[in-house]
Every structure is written in structure tokens, then in C-alpha cells.
């Protein structure tokens, strides 16, 4: 009787362990997915191919740029988020192919595609030894500002390659602690002052 009970208990324990192992096995896309490198603003985040240092985050209600003497205004139903990052390649020339603003609940806001003709919006490759400053423009909902993370990688959806996850913790605040949102962000002026 005791032996039977002991065997039954052992079987139940084995079943529980197997069940836990099956439920906790990572899926295919996690096993072959990106290798995360975490960091914060103001410090260089080292991945396999590039170092990224997020310098500042700004917000604006609309963007303005001038090209061939024509001024274009871009409005949005949410906010424009402008992230300035200093990038340097480590071992070979490369492009940062994917940058996304990820909100606190995991919503991924990809780079805005409405600025294809704006100045500075198709940056050339980053060469080793020559760091370059890139400015990324995202359209986000106003409630996705606090606790956001910037994801940077060479390819979209890197497979077994680095992806930098940089916490955007230093946000521009007004004197009373509210978020400082500019009315208009002039893209030409921003390039002149900080190329």
C-alpha cells in the first residue's frame, strides 16, 4: 500500500515537473531571436556591430521642414518624438536598419515614413572610427511617453544578433514637472545647430 502510494506520488511529481518544463520552454522565435543589450540614456550601449548613445529626446506637436524653397508641415494626431542618438560602428561599416519607440505596454512605433523628402532623413552608413549623429522621428500616442524604450538593430527582427534596448528615462520637463512639448520643431534649424 505504502509502495503504491509512493509510486503514485512520484508519478504525480514527475508529471508536474514535465508540465512545468513544457510550459516554460521558449518558442522558436525566442530561441532564434534577438540578443538583447539593455542600457539607459547618456551612456554608450555596446552591441556587436555598433555603439549607441541616446543624447536627448524632444517632443513636438508638428514638424516643419524646407526643401527647394517649399515649406512642408507635418501634423499628427498624437505627438512627434525626436530622439537624437550618437552611433559609432565597431568593426565594419553598417546601417542601423531598424529603430522603434516601444511604449510601456509593448506597442512598437516604427520610424515615421512621412518624412522621406525631409533633410537628413536617409543617413549614409556609419563607418568605424567616425561616429555620426542620427535623429529618429516617431509619431506616438501621448500616453506612450513614460517608461518608453528605444530599440535599435541592424536588421529588422534580428535573428541571433544584437538588439539594443535603451530606456528613455531623461525626458524634457517644464518647471512644474509636466512634459515639455514644443509647438513646432524645425528640422532644418536642428540640422544646422547640431549636424
Amino acid at each position: 500500500m505504502k509502495r503504491r502510494l509512493a509510486t503514485l506520488l512520484l508519478l504525480a511529481a514527475a508529471a508536474a515537473v514535465l508540465f512545468a518544463m513544457q510550459r516554460s520552454t521558449p518558442r522558436y522565435d525566442e530561441l532564434t531571436g534577438p540578443l538583447l543589450v539593455s542600457g539607459r540614456m547618456g551612456q554608450p550601449v555596446r552591441t556587436r556591430l555598433f555603439d549607441a548613445n541616446v543624447e536627448r529626446v524632444q517632443f513636438a506637436r508638428q514638424l516643419v521642414y524646407e526643401r527647394f524653397d517649399r515649406q512642408t508641415v507635418r501634423t499628427t494626431s498624437g505627438l512627434w518624438a525626436i530622439v537624437t542618438v550618437e552611433l559609432s560602428a565597431r568593426s565594419r561599416s553598417m546601417h542601423v536598419g531598424r529603430a522603434s519607440w516601444v511604449g510601456p505596454q509593448g506597442f512598437q512605433y516604427l520610424l515615421s515614413d512621412r518624412l522621406a523628402l525631409a533633410p537628413g532623413q536617409s543617413p549614409p552608413a556609419i563607418e568605424p572610427g567616425l561616429p555620426r549623429r542620427a535623429r529618429y522621428f516617431f509619431e506616438i500616442r501621448p500616453d506612450q511617453v513614460d517608461g518608453a524604450v528605444l530599440w535599435l538593430s541592424e536588421h529588422v527582427g534580428p535573428r541571433l544578433d544584437s538588439e539594443a534596448h535603451i530606456k528613455l528615462d531623461v525626458l524634457p520637463r517644464a518647471a512644474d514637472g509636466a512634459l515639455d512639448v514644443m509647438d513646432t520643431f524645425d528640422m532644418n534649424a536642428a540640422i544646422k545647430e547640431q549636424p
Binding site: S93, P124, A125, E127, P128, R132, P195
Partner: protein, 191 residues
């Protein structure tokens, strides 16, 4: 009955041990045989074996005779797409075609600059170079050149000023991998 049982179990134990040993040898062997093809392709698909070319020499590579005609560098002022501290390097090749099958022979043509620590610089398109009859390697593939013709291949690079003097040009073709060329000539400063 007990005696025979003991014998049988002793024989069983011996064979079980042997099987376990064989498993340790067989599993890696099976993995190696199954993966042999992919490993070979990976091993031979990289630039591993270098052919050093002295300055001024010509070399037969990928159905053509390559000669590094000039390797010049000049410091660039910062502005627009040019970052600070940049040196522009231009590599000029004279290539005499022997086998006209350029799309096959020159597939994956990569001309890069390499320094002593293994950093590589790929060609850039931000330098406003004067238009000549020289073309890039990839565009030359589709130029329809015939055997015996001499092509001019020109590639421009953006490198940091402190690393520019120690750079060397490498030429790599997909069909010739793992072999690749490295020209011993260093860039010459112009103006």
C-alpha cells in the same frame, strides 16, 4: 536458474556499458556528417586565405588581371554628410578582362579597406567625385565588357584620419572565396 541469470545480467551490463560508450562517439559523428555540408559552405564562404600583392604587381583573379593603379587619400572638411575628422580615400584599379563571364565571376564583388586590427570600411557614396569613365565594381559587372578590354574600377571610402595611413585595399569575389586579395600599397596623401 540463479546462476544462468547472473551470467546473463553480467553480459547485459557489459553490453550496456559498451553501448553507452559508443553513443558518446556516435552522436557527435552523426552530427558532423549531417552538418558537413553547411559547415563547409560557411567555412569557405568567408574571406580567410589572403593573397598578398606587392605594390605595382598585377594578379590574375576571377577571370581578370587586376592592378591597383592608385590609392590616394585627402582630408575632408566636415559638413553635410561628411563627419568630423574624416579622410576620403579613393582606390583606382585597372582590370584587364580575360573571361567575359562577369556576372558569374564577379558576383559578390566587394572592395574594402582593412586596417591592422581587422576593421573594414565599405565603399561610400557621399563623396562628390568627378565623373570619369571609371565605374564601381558592381556596375562594371553589367557593363557588357568583352575579353581583352581594360576596365577602370574606382571606389571611394570614408575613414578616420588617424587610421588612414595604415590601410590596405582588399578585393573579394564570391566565387574565389575563401581566397581574397590584399594589396600592400598604403594610401598616398594628396594635397
Amino acid at each position: 536458474m540463479t546462476g544462468r541469470g547472473d551470467e546473463r545480467s553480467a553480459g547485459e551490463k557489459r553490453w550496456r556499458r559498451r553501448s553507452m560508450l559508443l553513443l558518446v562517439i556516435l552522436l557527435p559523428l552523426v552530427a558532423a556528417v549531417t552538418a558537413r555540408d553547411s559547415i563547409e559552405r560557411w567555412w569557405n564562404g568567408r574571406d580567410r586565405i589572403v593573397r598578398e600583392i606587392a605594390a605595382g604587381d598585377q594578379v590574375d583573379f576571377g577571370g581578370a588581371r587586376w592592378q591597383l593603379h592608385a590609392l590616394r587619400m585627402a582630408p575632408l572638411p566636415a559638413g553635410g554628410n561628411i563627419p568630423d575628422n574624416a579622410m576620403g580615400v579613393v582606390a583606382d584599379f585597372r582590370v584587364q578582362i580575360q573571361d567575359a563571364d562577369l556576372p558569374g565571376n564577379w558576383r559578390g564583388c566587394t572592395i574594402a579597406l582593412q586596417d591592422g586590427q581587422g576593421r573594414r570600411w565599405m565603399p561610400t557614396h557621399v563623396l562628390p567625385l568627378p565623373r570619369t569613365d571609371a565605374s564601381e565594381c558592381i556596375s562594371a559587372i553589367y557593363s557588357g565588357a568583352k575579353a581583352g578590354a581594360t576596365l577602370r574600377i574606382r571606389q571611394a571610402f570614408l575613414v578616420p584620419r588617424e587610421a588612414a595611413a595604415a590601410l590596405r585595399v582588399t578585393v573579394s569575389l564570391a566565387r574565389q572565396q575563401p581566397h581574397y586579395l590584399r594589396f600592400a600599397q598604403h594610401p598616398r596623401l594628396v594635397q
